[in-house]
Assembly symmetry: C3
Homo-oligomer: 166 residues x 3
């Protein structure tokens, strides 16, 4: 039996399948919290100084307090409007890096459903995250999101990501 | 090298990655059967006394015969209308429980495509399942689905699920 | 502790979870390349003589040069029209076969977003692939795609796939 190099990323690192399953589970919970308006619990899935660079903000959002405040505000508006948003990540590509962090690129659909109305595809985005493990838990250290409808809006750079990600 | 606690759920249980892959594979086949109108094969992916609490039914659907009858009827209507439905689960969060069952929460899109017409997002739902393993195969013991457009429709409770699932 | 038969496909084969994670990672990168118009890199994720039988072509597309040419042409048209396409695979069912190849059936959404316009679900398809491993990397040896809106269009058969796939 030959050694499978695809399945492991470093000799001392966990198998790729373990990493990949953890990442998928992480995103599922992360988005369930976001869409439920659980602002503080969602912010806790970022590192303490985590950065989120959304497409339309002039400056990245930094730190859990600011991240939670943003969700609280957005969720209150949606609730007042009687609309539910769901964030669906797909086509998740995970690239383990030498420092143990994970560079994750995925597609993000935002689905909006008004009360008694038809669900619609609200936004199609690309999400690039740097995930790190703290106390055994995955957390977002940095997130950069671009919108397919507004390729002119490039989020302010938040850190050390590679420039050539597709 | 430290012991990874994230990757395993109980000392004697399979690694989380194995569980997670099995769950994803299970849902893929389960939805392929449903969308193909393979009513009996689909019903066989529930336990014998499996329960499905859809959002709009006054009573949960219980048992494979009733589950299959429901699919047969729905599929005949869709076929007569020249429409194909696809059920897409995403953001799958799997919580192994002490009794060996799995509590699974996911988002479910129903995509409808009429013959020669445009595909549309028909429904956006949340799906909460209790999965169990019988003869080595995962099966649905209980399913509860809510619709984003009708938060007022809360399905009849089917069993022992936690009340605080988001 | 009992032996889990679900998790392994052959005594000498890698665990199913490793296969499943590799397949998901493969598709993520594969679609990122396609949607970025990286024609040659995308074509390199097929085998040298890889076959793609799309729903509307009279003949399957054979070989990397032809596959890359097709993407180059499509991407140029989309760019000229100011539109971005994203290919999202979901409900991925992986069936390892005795020869080591993988029969993979999935749903494929094509999401189209015009510049400054609303994202829309452009097409809903079913994708049936035969994947093989070459030099440790997964590659598509054969792909057959059907469109939900045009069940009359059955792609020309490309090879050895089973006829009864749903």
């Amino acid at each position: 039996m030959s050694v499978r190099t695809e399945g492991s990323v470093r000799p001392e690192s966990p198998p790729f399948a373990a990493v990949y399953a953890d990442v998928q589970q992480f995103y599922a919970r992360h988005m369930h919290l976001l869409d439920a308006g659980a602002a503080d619990e969602w912010a806790a899935t970022f590192t303490e100084d985590g950065v989120f660079a959304p497409p339309s903000a002039p400056e990245p959002i930094r730190g859990r307090a600011s991240l939670a405040a943003g969700v609280r505000e957005s969720f209150a508006k949606l609730t007042a409007a009687g609309e539910v948003h769901r964030h669906l990540l797909s086509m998740v590509a995970v690239e383990p890096r030498p420092d143990g962090s994970l560079l994750v690129r995925s597609y993000a659909q935002v689905i909006a459903t008004p009360r008694d109305g038809a669900a619609r595809l609200h936004l199609m985005c690309v999400c690039e995250d740097v995930l790190v493990r703290e106390d055994g838990e995955l957390r977002v250290r940095e997130r950069r999101v671009t919108r397919d409808d507004r390729p002119d809006l490039q989020p302010a750079s938040g850190g050390d990501r590679r420039a050539d990600a597709r």
